[in-house]
């Protein structure tokens, strides 16, 4: 999958801004949004403190630029998930591989969206589109049964596993990443498999889930 950390900067040829964004992404992924200061980013990028402020207002501004990059990579995953209908293992595995790769790159933004660390309207809109979209995508794929009255809750549970298992383990090396993708593929495939007695009764359709998060429901303002 292609990376897009220079998105929005094309044309201005500003290598320093790209370097700061990349340094910010790496440091933020490690330390978390709340614990990262401008000093950490400029130290990593090897530029002066003042240079940072030529390109970004503050850390929040930098996070927003990273969020736009993240959205560019996650939106196609939302679309692909929404387009699935009783996906086979190969389809789930290909999607999972791309999701885990995207997560390793953009984890800090996805966690910021999930945990509502920034109430900015742009962030809320992107969270609604991407996190809300992924949850709805899983919700629509889980076979409906009497024991699962709320598709959105099912979607959230599956997305929770996919996101957090990746966060726990996948950042270390390629081998672990491969193992994580395979385990998640099999678990999700299992959850999406209709019960033997249900297959003929339910074609896998049903009302799509809906987000209940005030901040991911709709953009404000």
């Amino acid at each position: 999958m292609t990376r897009s950390s220079t998105r929005g900067l094309r044309g201005d040829g500003d290598a320093t801004a790209v370097r700061l964004l990349e340094a910010g992404r790496i440091v933020l992924n490690r330390r978390g949004y709340g614990a990262t200061r401008v000093d950490d980013v400029v130290a990593r990028a090897g530029v002066s403190h003042g240079t940072f402020y030529l390109h970004f207002r503050d850390m929040e501004d930098l996070l927003h630029r990273l969020a736009v990059d993240c959205h560019a990579d996650v939106e196609p995953l939302v679309t692909r998930l929404a387009g699935m209908d009783a996906p086979d293992t190969t389809t789930v595995r290909a999607w999972m591989g791309d999701f885990v790769a995207a997560y390793l790159h953009h984890g800090v933004v996805l966690r910021a969206w999930l945990e509502h660390v920034d109430a900015d309207p742009l962030m809320e809109w992107l969270a609604h589109r991407d996190v809300g979209g992924l949850i709805d995508g899983f919700a629509a794929l889980v076979p409906k049964t009497a024991a699962r009255p709320d598709p959105y809750a099912c979607g959230l549970a599956l997305f929770s596993m996919v996101e957090h298992f990746t966060a726990y383990l996948a950042y270390r090396d390629d081998e672990v990443e491969r193992v994580v993708v395979e385990a998640l593929t099999r678990l999700v495939r299992g959850a999406l498999t209709p019960a033997a007695g249900e297959r003929d009764r339910d074609g896998g359709t049903g009302s799509p889930g809906r987000a209940r998060v005030p901040s991911v429901r709709s953009p404000r303002g």
């Binding site: 999930l114 024991a147 299992g190």
Partner: protein, 199 residues
């Protein structure tokens, strides 16, 4: 001796709270001391620094996770397995929900310096749960990884419920997570029928 233990527990509790709120790097011993209502001197009687306290909390959480992991009955593809999961998820949810912020701080800290032994508690938990899963019958996924994935699911789900993303009571949450987990481990199982067929 008893008072010494009580003080240590108070520091551990306050530390779990503060680390969970601020993360490892922003947490100061001063804040923990204030929360625990003890003096700095008392803190240093028990722990050399915040790193040592953090490691002690990781140990404590790891011990509790291990203990819950061993309480899972075999997850067979039938009503018995379904009931085993439901009863167990209730305990797991009760344990994980309040410590989820600390687990997040712990995972975040491990991305910077891998000194708190992140792997061992997770792998121990996964191994114990995986053992109970495979005792119930063959599954198409490495049981140890399934165990860790289950913990990850409960952890994130509980955090999002706490943040208000979903309104669901604990009984319904436990029911749903157990139901989905049985389907994940035994694809194609008629969960509704196994649930109905229970004694």
């Amino acid at each position: 001796m008893e008072r010494r233990l009580a003080t240590r527990t108070r520091i551990l509790d306050a530390g779990r709270e503060v680390f969970g709120e601020l993360g490892y790097h922003l947490t100061r011993v001063d804040e923990i001391v204030r929360r625990a209502e003890i003096s700095r001197a008392t803190f240093y009687l028990h722990f050399a620094n915040k790193g040592e306290l953090f490691a002690a909390i990781v140990d404590e959480v790891g011990t509790r996770l291990r203990s819950v992991a061993h309480q899972l009955d075999p997850v067979s593809p039938d009503g018995r397995g379904h009931r085993a999961l439901r009863e167990w998820f209730d305990r797991l949810y009760e344990l994980v929900e309040p410590v989820a912020p600390f687990i997040a701080a712990w995972m975040q800290a491990e991305r910077v310096v891998q000194t708190f032994g992140r792997d061992r508690p997770l792998l121990d938990f996964g191994t114990a749960v995986g053992h109970r899963i495979s005792t119930g019958g063959a599954v198409g996924v490495e049981p140890r990884l399934a165990g860790i994935a289950i913990l990850a699911m409960v952890d994130r789900f509980a955090v999002q419920v706490r943040l208000g993303d979903l309104v669901i009571d604990r009984g319904a949450a436990v029911e749903l997570l157990a139901d989905l987990t049985l389907a994940m481990l035994h694809p194609g199982i008629d969960v509704a029928a196994t649930a109905a067929g229970e004694p």
